[in-house]
């Protein structure tokens, strides 16, 4: 799985593509925590290109969200496919994330906030 | 399930507590007829009867037959909505006389005498 990072003044956009499962979950969590240490607190994670996510991948997102929320930041997600949505729904974690049609819309929401 | 009995003149009032399902119906089939032998006219106070399944209803019908056999009757009082639905579903409400309060059920014996 690849990660592209793009930063603008209000938030960092991470675009993931491929299979977001337990084997890569650890590295994602580290990437985000490094960014947090460099005082980036608002994130948009674009899932449009993620074909599969398991509880490992989900766990890393939940952990990162908890860390970011401690610094009054937020993580917004965009365009999860049916497969990925199902994992959020079944684990009821869809209630703690905000979902947007695409990453630009999610980024804009940080501006107006 | 637990039943306590009290009798005034010719009518026995049986207060039934808990649930009439599982093994309770067999208990009822043994216990109630003994009471019916003494006084065939019986009022079943169902205020504390939470739930009854069809096994329980079957047992009640068996006891009814014994009561009617001895020129008596079993009249139900204060049944809750679930029991009422079960009885309507199985048309058992056409077989039993059902009263809203125990008092009505008891007085129904005094003026009507036994089963109409």
């Amino acid at each position: 799985m690849e990660i592209q990072t793009k930063q603008n003044d209000t938030c960092v956009t991470l675009t993931l593509s491929g299979r977001f499962d337990a084997s890569v979950a650890g590295s994602i969590k580290e990437t985000i925590s490094e960014l947090i240490d460099r005082d980036n607190i608002h994130y948009v994670i674009d899932l449009s290109d993620v074909s599969y996510m398991d509880s490992g991948g989900l766990g890393s997102l939940v952990a990162s969200l908890r860390r970011v929320r401690e610094r009054e930041g937020d993580i917004k997600l965009s365009a999860p496919n049916c497969n990925v949505r199902k994992v959020f729904e079944l684990t009821r974690t869809h209630r703690i994330f905000e979902f947007y049609d695409n990453s630009t819309l999610a980024a804009q929401s940080f501006q107006s906030a | 399930m637990k039943i306590d009995y009290s009798t005034n003149e010719a009518v026995t009032i049986a207060v039934i507590h808990g649930r009439l399902d599982g093994t309770a119906p067999a208990l009822l089939r043994k216990e109630l007829p003994l009471q019916l032998q003494k006084t065939p006219c019986l009022v079943l106070d169902c205020t504390a009867l939470e739930y009854m399944d069809s096994g329980g209803l079957g047992a009640l019908l068996a006891c009814l037959r014994i009561a009617v056999g001895n020129k008596g009757d079993i009249r139900l009082a204060a049944i809750n909505a679930k029991v009422k639905m079960l009885m309507e579903l199985t048309r058992a409400d056409k077989v039993f006389q059902i009263y809203t309060t125990v008092a009505d059920a008891v007085t129904s014996y005094t003026n009507q005498g036994s089963r109409p």
Binding site: R19, A22, S23, Y52, D54, G59, R66, N83, V87, L90 | -
Partner: protein
Amino acid sequence: MEQLELKIPATLEQAQLGAIAAANIAAAYYRIVTGQDPGKDNAFINAVELAVGEACTNSVKHCCSQCPEECRLTVCFELEDRKLMVMIKDCNAPFPFDQAPVPDFEAVPESGYGLYLIEQTMDEVHYLHQDGQNILTLIKTIKDGKAKCSQ
């Protein structure tokens, strides 16, 4: 339908292989049984992929031996008219399958969703520990052609 068996080294990267294989085998069986192309987001295939992926990840995570590469995880697939059965066998210590707690959703835990997801996506899940092996059996039935959700 005879059994298809897959032996995977017990590492996280290889566990991913289990999930991908499961998805493709499920797709193949789906075509055989319904005679139709499963299409993009097929509920049956997605469910099998997720459940087998979780099961493989769990068993790899709890792999007992110090050198996981030697330790092997077996995944076998079997189709019985419309029921796909997937058995995941490993040599780990037995685990209390039926006391596995349902996640406390209010607390939003960061892990422990695996077994719950398996049970939610599969029609039947059975676990037994036999002659030194954990055997987790996942069963999913291929519904009629349109893979409609059963009300």
